[in-house]
């Protein structure tokens, strides 16, 4: 696809300006990716956040940037002193799209359905919550009893969409919890109602505004009535479609070369928002020579951070020193990022050699073919390590292959490149799941980092309910992990979404990447 970008870039610079907008009036055409299925308890990927935010509601919701945990279907919650019992009170008078009331039964059913099926976002709850731990107290009160204290519980609550129990149950087949039906239909209460008849997976879905949405529409005098989700597969086509007015929004990961082009074009612009999404080069800490801390430091100093961020990415990213996004609590302010310093790198590599590390083997760095930045960063590292006499070879792979290779230290590559996006806004989403040895075998923990002190700090942070105390624990853990040079943390993402000038009210949040349509209007 890189050749494709280059060819297009060359071609576009030679040709004239785009046409005027052609999208229909009063309709928003959304060109970002659709989730791989429509059941919010089964699918748990970044595009699903767009669907969940617009079609479903949760007890709480993240709004704005930095994201604020806002009571949504719930009026509020209480937590017992031991941190085990969480009680949520629901707002009165909330209705589903079919007009039936949303009450505690639906909330209990939704959580139990998620836990019983064991898919999608259930992984965030299964270790601490059994289906029997979710109980209805009265029509507007739901109580959760955790198996042990787990402070990130509240942060994960927005992951669970509340579905209409009666509708889903009416469409069950062979005890599938209605999953077959819900994968192409909906049973929500959210601000937009999908038109299942228009749904073609990954191709098309039309949504209409739900006038009776519980939140009301007073804050938005001219909301968008019709949304047509028309994902565009290829980046080049997506940018052309935006410039031509076929779509009103691209995805939020525009390549840097496209950003300048969209900015220079008429009638369209790029929304730039610092998100919470860390780019990392993973090192397999269990595989020699990466089991040697001095060698990992050598690698950390051999990467030219400013060449990558400032030159290749044109400055559209923020250097991040450790595993927690620097705009989130728990990331230490005073953490010194590794610098590009070949002399230091040489010293650390020499020290590693003196300790018996074998640096003569050609090391592998696996890249994701579909994502240019993984190749570019690997090449930057290859050049840096080459200068200190370490050979690196690039291996093309895919996300699907790499995540399944992360299952064991033997199959995990020497190094690989990926991002950790915001699924829930808590340091647990990053440092907790990336460096606690309990998570070994998942892609997030594919550094195979093992440090008992860190394990214990992360455990304490989960059990502690006071955020200020938790922040201290995460800061301490961050310092230790960075001192161990467990991975190469590169940057925190600035999300770049191409938007038509006719879109007003675009409201970015790291959760959902600004895809919540209810705040927007068309001028």
């Amino acid at each position: 696809m890189r050749i494709l970008h280059a060819a297009m870039f060359a071609a576009v610079t030679l040709t004239a300006a785009p046409l005027a907008a052609q999208a229909p009036e009063g309709e928003l055409v959304w060109g970002d990716t659709l989730p791989k299925g429509l059941d919010p308890h089964v699918v748990y990927d970044v595009p699903m956040q767009f669907y969940m935010l617009n079609v479903y509601d949760g007890l709480y919701r993240y709004v704005g940037n930095p994201p604020e945990l806002t009571p949504w279907l719930a009026q509020g919650h209480e937590v017992s002193d031991d941190g085990l019992t969480w009680t949520f009170t629901l707002k009165d008078g909330v209705t589903f799209h079919d007009g039936s009331p949303l009450n505690a039964d639906d909330v209990v059913y939704s959580f139990q359905r998620l836990l019983e099926m064991g898919q999608g976002p259930s992984g965030a709850f299964l270790p601490v919550l059994d289906p029997s731990g979710v109980e209805k107290v009265d029509d507007l009160t739901v109580q959760f009893t955790l198996k042990h204290p787990y402070a990130p519980f509240l942060a994960a609550i927005p992951l669970v969409s509340i579905v209409n129990e009666d509708v889903v149950k009416a469409n069950e087949a062979d005890g599938d919890f209605g999953a077959g039906w819900l994968s192409s239909n909906s049973a929500g209460s959210g601000a937009y109602i999908p038109d299942a008849g228009t749904y073609v997976p990954q191709e098309r879905l039309d949504l209409a505004r739900f006038e009776d949405h519980f939140y009301g529409w007073d804050d938005n005098p001219s909301p968008i009535d019709v949304v047509r989700a028309y994902p565009v597969q290829e980046t080049s086509t997506r940018v052309l479609a935006l410039m031509r007015g076929d779509i009103d929004a691209t995805d939020s990961y525009l390549p840097t070369d496209q950003v300048e082009r969209v900015k220079g074009a008429e009638g369209v612009d790029v929304s730039q928002d610092e998100s919470m999404r860390i780019m990392i080069i993973r090192m397999n800490n269990k595989k020699p020579p990466f089991d040697n801390a001095n060698f990992r430091k050598c690698v950390s100093h051999a990467f030219d951070y400013s060449a990558f961020i400032d030159v290749i990415l044109g400055g559209y990213a923020e250097r991040n020193a450790g595993p927690i996004p620097k705009n989130l609590w728990g990331a230490p302010d005073d953490l010194e990022p590794y610098t590009f310093d070949l002399d230091l790198a040489q010293e650390f590599c020499d020290a590693a050699r003196a300790e018996g590390a074998d640096l003569d083997r050609t090391l592998e760095i696996h890249i994701q073919s579909a994502l240019d930045q993984t190749t570019q960063s690997a090449q930057v590292l290859q050049a840096g390590l080459g200068a200190v006499g370490v050979n690196v070879e690039l291996i093309a792979s895919t996300w699907a292959n790499l995540t399944s290779q992360a299952a064991s230290p033997e199959t995990t590559p020497d190094m690989w490149v990926h991002w950790v996006s915001t699924y829930f806004v808590d340091p647990e989403n990053w440092i907790g799941q990336m460096y606690d040895s309990d998570f070994h075998g998942t892609w997030k923990a594919s550094a195979w980092y093992q440090n008992d002190e860190v394990d214990s700090l992360l455990d304490q942070a989960r059990a502690e309910t006071d955020q200020a105390e938790r922040a201290k624990l995460y800061e301490e853990a961050s310092r230790k992990i960075v001192a161990d040079a467990a991975d190469i943390w590169i940057y925190n993402t600035v999300q770049l979404r191409g938007l038509s000038d006719r879109v007003d009210g675009y409201k970015f949040s790291p959760v959902g990447s600004g895809g919540e349509i209810r705040w927007m209007s068309l001028n």
Binding site: L4, K36, R244, A407
Partner: protein
Amino acid sequence: MVLFVIRRLILIIPILLGLLLLTFVMLRMGPGDPAAAIAGDNATPEQIAAIREDLGLNDPAVFQFFDYLVRAAQGDFGVSVYSNRPVGLDIAQRLPATLELTIVALLIATVFGLIIGVLSGVWRNSTFDHLVRIFAVIGLATASFWFAIMLQLVFSMDLGILPLRGRLATGMPSPPVVTGLYLVDALLAGRLDAFWSALAHIILPAFTIALGGLATIARFTRSSVISSLESEYAAYETAVGYPRRRIITPYVLRNSLVTPVTQIGLLFGAFVSNAVAVEAVFDWPGLGSYLVEAIFTNDYQAILAVTLVIGVIYGIVNICVDVIHGLLDPRVAETM
């Protein structure tokens, strides 16, 4: 002839089995774990293990393959990782899109290829012939995704006369499904708006796919026409005093068509593989773009099923080519 067709149809079966086996083995040798792909990004190792057990991925590979064959024979191709729906349903929805695109591309390549080929054969070494030669070389050497973007830039962006992507205008309801081919369904339903929209949308991708084939057909037709014109019967007809037009239209043309028709059959395969890149650029919701996503997501059931479908189409097209060959050349028909 009927016996010939039946015999050929039966012969497709072992070919398809071999194709499936090869694909199956290659997929299993790759590093990806289908269970991890299905479980999703945030699955725990326990969730992945449960899915692996569910899918029978812990059974010996031979069992898995036979199990797949038995299910496939009953029309059950499994569930797609990419769309979370039965693979059969996805293919039923996407196959017509690819067929429509390929058929239109084949029509463009054949009609224009034959006309241009005949003309450059008849007007051999004229300026027209030289120009055609240059264009044929360019057409064969052009990468289809590059050509696709050039067409988009010129016809969609600069001139603004043709759509950039998709099968129908944004928001236009698709015609009721009869054949799945929008051009046909729109006419059947009397929906002229949809017909024109579908036609406008298909021109650029179909032409992109057709380009290489058009050049091939033109070149083969040209040499075929030239060798017919130089044959003894043409010399005899000229000697008898037939006008040139009378020689060319019934006699030379019929004899010249045999080679290009064989080419058309072979081209179909190239068109389907071209469709993979071209569908992605034009957002054409066909099997090609589906296959790309399936490969990226380790969607092994989808990959196997698409391979099978392409194999079936390939087999059928080749039989059709042989039959047409027989119709054009009675000597071939006798051997059938």
